[in-house]
C-alpha cells in the first residue's frame, strides 16, 4: 500500500518535438480507430434480437402457484395463518403480508384474505383464502426486498422488463395476472433459477452461456463459466 504520484513529467512524458512536427500523437490515435474498423459488430439488434436476462434478474413480479416444489415448512405456514390448504395449481400466497412489511413503499400492495363461507362441519370451516392481491408496479423500485421476505417463495421476480402502459390501470396487476406471469416464467426458466425446494441453488448460473445475443456484447468471446469456490462442482 502506498502513494503513487501521477502527473505530467511524473508518469506521463510531454510531447517531443518529433511528435509535434510529424503529428505522431494523431497517427497513434488513428491507428487505434482504424483497428476497430475490422472488428465484429458488438451491438444487439433490438427488438429483433433480445438478450435473455440473467436468472436473478429483477423484473415484473409474479405469484407462484403450488407445484410440488414448496419448501419443507410450507404446510406449517399454512396451518399457522389458518389458510385453506392449497391444492395443486392454487396460489402459494398465505396472506402473511411480510412482503408489504419489507417493502420501502408499502402502498404498492393491497392484500386481503377472507373467511370461507362453509358450514360448520366442513373441514375448511374457519379457514381463510386470499381474496385480493393487487400490486401497483408504477410505485415499485424493484429492490427485491419483498421476494426475500416471502416465507413460501410465492412472490418472485420474473425476467419480464417491459412495463409500459398508457394509463395507471396497466401497472396495477391483480392476483390472477401475477399468477399467470409466474406460471409462464416457471415453465420457461424455473429450472434455471430454483431447485426442487424453491431455493436458489449453488449451480444457478450468472447467465445462460448459450445466449448468443449476450455473447455478441462480449466481443463474440464470452467467458466459460466454471465453479467459483474450491469445493464447488
Amino acid at each position: 500500500m502506498g502513494i503513487k504520484k501521477v502527473g505530467l513529467n511524473r508518469n506521463v512524458q510531454p510531447q517531443t518535438i518529433t511528435e509535434k512536427i510529424f503529428f505522431l500523437d494523431f497517427m497513434k490515435g488513428l491507428k487505434t480507430t482504424i483497428k476497430h474498423l475490422f472488428r465484429k459488430v458488438i451491438t444487439v439488434d433490438f427488438p429483433f434480437e433480445l438478450v435473455e436476462p440473467a436468472p436473478r434478474f429483477r423484473g415484473i413480479h409474479g405469484l407462484r402457484n403450488v407445484d410440488g416444489t414448496e419448501k419443507d415448512d410450507f404446510e406449517a405456514w399454512v396451518k399457522k395463518l389458518k389458510i385453506k390448504p392449497p391444492e395443486m395449481g392454487e396460489t402459494r400466497c398465505i396472506g402473511c403480508k411480510f412482503c408489504q412489511a419489507a417493502c420501502p413503499v408499502p402502498e404498492i400492495f393491497i392484500i386481503k384474505t377472507e373467511k370461507l363461507d362453509v358450514p360448520e362441519d366442513h373441514p375448511h370451516h374457519g379457514l381463510k383464502v386470499l381474496s385480493q392481491f393487487d400490486m401497483d408496479l408504477s410505485k415499485c423500485m424493484f429492490c427485491g426486498l419483498c421476494t426475500l421476505a416471502c416465507p413460501t417463495i410465492c412472490i418472485i421476480h420474473t425476467d419480464i422488463y417491459d412495463l409500459s402502459s398508457y394509463t395507471r390501470r396497466g401497472w396495477v396487476l391483480n392476483k390472477e395476472t401475477l399468477s399467470k406471469i409466474a406460471d409462464d416464467f416457471i415453465a420457461r426458466r424455473g429450472k434455471e433459477k430454483y431447485d426442487d425446494k424453491s431455493e436458489w441453488p449453488d449451480w444457478q448460473k450468472i447467465w445462460d452461456d448459450a445466449d448468443m445475443a449476450r455473447a455478441k456484447a462480449w466481443d463474440n468471446n464470452p467467458p466459460k463459466l466454471g465453479p467459483n469456490y474450491a469445493d464447488q462442482q
Binding site: 419489507a102 420501502p104 423500485m141 462480449w218
Partner: protein
C-alpha cells in the same frame, strides 16, 4: 479507526472548561460547546499543532422535535489530515441561529444554505443565505420533524390522461389529484435573481437545467464579460427528492434501495456507505463474514471502474472525442452484465445489506469477472493512446481549473478531486473498511491539481481497482461454498435480517462512509434511543461539496472551460440533490 481518542478530547476539556464530552461506547466520542464559544473553540482546533482539524467534512443540523428547547443542534464534522482522525463538534442553535463558519471554511457556504433551506436555521454573517434546493418563495423547511413526510398537498394536478379514459378510478388505480407545491416561472425568476444579487455585466448566460453538457439537471448562471466569466452561480435541486427525510421513516435495509437512486452511476458504492455506517453503529463491522467482505470490496471496485468509464466516455465526448464514448460503453456493458448476473439489476443494484450481501455469487461469476479483466488493461491502453498525449487533449486540460491543497481543506473536497491536488485523502486507506486493509493498492496523487491531473488520477484509479479486484478473486477462490455471506448476530438484543423487517439500530451516533468514485459519501446516523427508524440520517454527499468549488474555478476563465472543469469535478445530480 480514524476517530479522535478519548485522551485527546479530555485534554480539550482540561483546557476549555465549557467543553462537554459525549462519550460513546463504540468509540465515536463527540464534544459539545456552547454557541458563544463555538467559533473560538473551532479556531483553536483548526490552528493548534496538536489537533490541526483543518479539513471540513460536514456541517449539519439535528432537529430534536418541536417540544425540545433548544430545538436544533448543529453538528460539525472535521478531519485532521496530520493525525488522520475525525471529530464531531456539536452546539445548540438557541433562537434558531448559529454563527457562520464561512470565514473559516469556504465549504460551509453551501452547507449553511442547505441547513437554512431544510431546517430554517439562520446563520449570522453568511454572505448570501438563500435556499439550496428549494425555490426562494417556498414557505416550508422540509427536514423539520413537524413537516409531514407526504408534504402539504396544495396544488391541484389532475392527470389529463386518466380523466379522458375514466375518472372513477378505484383501489390502487386511484391517485391523489392534489400535489405538493410546484414552482412557477415567477418563482424561478425570483430564485435566479436572489442567487446572483450583484450582477456585474450585461449578459447572464443560463446553462441548463436541461443540457447534455451538464450531465443532469444543474442550472448554471454565468455572468459574462465577452467570453470570460465574471461571476458564476449554480442552482441545484431540480432532482431533490428528500432522501434524508424518507430515510427517517424506514429501517436501514430499506434505505439502501433509495441510495441506489442517488449516485445512480455507482450505486454499489452508495449502498456500501450506508452499510459501513450502520455496521459501525451496531458495532459489527469487524464481525462481517470474510466472504461478504471480499465480495463487497470486489463489487465496489468493479463499480468504481464502471463509474470512471462512464466519466471518461462523457468527458471525452464533451471535449469532442466521440469515439471514446463508444469504446468505454463497450466495456461498461460487460461490467453491467456481470452486475446483472450477480445482483439481479444492471443499474439500481441493492445487493449489499447491513451485515453482508443478500446472496452468494452465482455459478461462473468469478470466471466472468476474470474474463473481463483479462483484456481490460489492453483496452485501457487504447484509451490512453487516444487521449493522454494528444495535443488537443493537453491543451484543453493542462492548467485548467487549478485546485490548490488549501482549497481541498477549506471546501472539503474528497475523492479524485482532492487526490489530484496532492492530498492523499482516501477513506479506503484511512478507515480500511471491509477488506481494504487486506488488499494491496496505491493511492494515486496528482501534483498541480488541474484538470489534466484529475484525468490522470482517475485513469490510475481504474488500474488500481483492477489490481484490487484481482486480489479479491484470488482470495474468494480459496473459500468454501458453505461459508456464510451474511452476519448472524449472536447477541439476542440485535436483530439483522436480509429483508430488513425488524432490523434495529442502537442508541448512539456515528459518522462513517465509503470512498466513492465521486468523493466521500459519509453517513451520519443519530439515534437518541434504540429503534428501527434512524432519527437523523444525514448523507454527506461528496459530489455536492465537490461541485461547490466550480464557481470559484470558473471566475476569469473562458466559457469553454466550463465543460472541462465540470467534467473533471464529475458531479452526479442524483447525489448532489439527494
Amino acid at each position: 479507526m480514524s476517530w479522535i481518542t478519548l485522551d485527546k478530547i479530555n485534554k480539550l476539556k482540561e483546557k476549555f472548561d465549557y467543553v462537554e464530552v459525549v462519550e460513546n461506547d463504540k468509540g465515536f466520542h463527540s464534544v459539545e460547546v456552547p454557541k458563544e464559544n463555538f467559533k473560538s473553540f473551532l479556531r483553536f482546533l483548526k490552528e493548534d499543532p496538536d489537533y490541526q482539524f483543518k479539513m471540513f467534512i460536514d456541517w449539519t443540523i439535528i432537529d430534536h422535535g418541536a417540544k425540545a428547547d433548544p430545538r436544533f443542534q448543529g453538528v460539525l464534522i472535521l478531519f485532521s489530515p496530520e493525525y488522520r482522525e475525525r471529530i464531531i463538534v456539536k452546539t445548540w442553535a438557541t433562537d434558531e441561529t448559529l454563527p457562520t463558519l464561512t470565514d473559516m471554511w469556504a465549504g460551509a457556504k453551501w452547507a449553511e444554505r442547505e441547513a437554512w433551506d431544510m431546517f430554517g436555521i439562520k446563520f449570522e454573517g453568511h454572505e448570501n443565505l438563500v435556499r439550496m434546493f428549494m425555490w426562494e418563495t417556498y414557505p416550508h423547511h422540509p427536514l423539520r420533524k413537524d413537516f409531514p413526510i407526504k408534504g402539504y398537498e396544495e396544488v391541484e394536478l389532475p392527470s389529463l390522461n386518466e380523466k379522458e379514459r375514466a375518472d372513477q378510478l378505484e383501489g390502487l388505480q386511484n391517485y391523489s389529484r392534489m400535489h405538493t407545491a410546484l414552482p412557477t416561472l415567477e418563482d424561478l425568476e425570483i430564485t435566479q435573481k436572489k442567487r446572483m444579487p450583484n450582477k456585474k455585466s450585461q449578459v447572464v448566460l443560463n446553462w441548463g437545467p436541461l443540457h447534455p453538457g451538464t450531465h443532469g439537471t444543474i442550472w448554471f448562471l454565468f455572468d459574462m464579460e465577452g467570453e470570460y466569466v465574471q461571476e458564476c452561480d449554480i442552482i441545484i435541486g431540480q432532482l431533490h427528492r428528500g432522501v434524508e427525510k424518507l430515510a427517517e421513516n424506514l429501517n436501514v435495509q430499506q434505505i439502501i434501495p433509495y441510495t441506489d437512486r442517488m449516485d445512480y452511476i455507482a450505486s454499489i458504492n452508495e449502498n456500501h456507505s450506508v452499510c459501513v455506517a450502520a455496521e459501525k453503529l451496531l458495532g459489527i463491522h469487524e464481525k462481517i463474514p470474510e466472504k461478504a467482505k471480499y465480495i463487497r470490496t470486489m463489487m465496489a471496485e468493479l463499480s468504481r471502474i464502471n463509474s470512471h468509464l462512464l466519466w471518461l466516455g462523457t468527458y471525452a465526448l464533451d471535449l469532442g472525442a466521440l469515439t471514446m464514448f463508444l469504446y468505454t460503453f463497450r466495456e461498461r456493458e460487460k461490467i453491467m452484465d456481470i452486475f446483472e448476473g450477480i445482483t439481479g439489476a444492471r443499474f439500481t443494484i441493492n445487493y449489499f445489506r447491513v451485515g453482508g450481501v443478500y446472496a452468494d455469487l452465482p455459478y461462473g461469476a468469478l470466471d466472468a469477472i476474470e474474463h473481463f479483466l483479462k483484456d481490460f488493461p489492453t483496452r485501457l491502453k487504447d484509451y490512453e493512446t487516444l487521449l493522454t498525449r494528444n495535443r488537443i487533449w493537453l491543451r484543453r486540460n493542462i492548467d485548467v481549473g487549478i485546485i490548490t491543497e488549501q482549497d481541498v481543506y477549506s471546501y472539503g473536497l474528497t475523492g479524485a478531486v482532492a487526490r489530484a491536488s496532492g492530498v492523499p485523502y482516501d477513506l479506503r486507506m484511512i478507515d480500511k473498511y471491509d477488506a481494504y486493509g487486506e488488499v494491496d493498492f496505491d493511492v494515486p496523487v496528482g501534483e498541480k491539481g488541474d484538470s489534466y491531473d484529475r484525468y490522470l488520477v482517475r485513469i490510475e484509479e481504474i488500474k488500481q481497482s483492477v489490481r484490487i479486484v484481482q486480489q479479491c478473486i484470488e482470495k474468494l477462490r480459496k473459500m468454501s461454498k458453505n461459508d456464510p455471506f451474511f452476519y448472524e448476530p449472536e447477541d439476542k438484543k440485535m436483530k439483522i435480517t436480509i429483508d430488513g423487517r425488524g432490523t434495529k439500530l442502537f442508541k448512539g451516533e456515528v459518522y462513517a462512509g465509503a470512498d466513492n468514485p465521486r468523493g466521500e459519501l459519509g453517513v451520519y446516523i443519530y439515534m437518541p434511543k434504540d429503534g428501527i427508524k434512524p432519527y437523523r440520517f444525514r448523507l454527506r454527499s461528496g459530489a455536492f461539496y465537490n461541485l461547490q468549488i466550480f464557481p470559484k474555478l470558473m471566475i476569469g476563465r473562458p466559457i469553454a472551460d466550463a465543460i472541462t472543469i465540470l467534467s473533471t469535478i464529475d458531479p452526479v445530480v442524483g447525489e448532489t440533490d439527494r
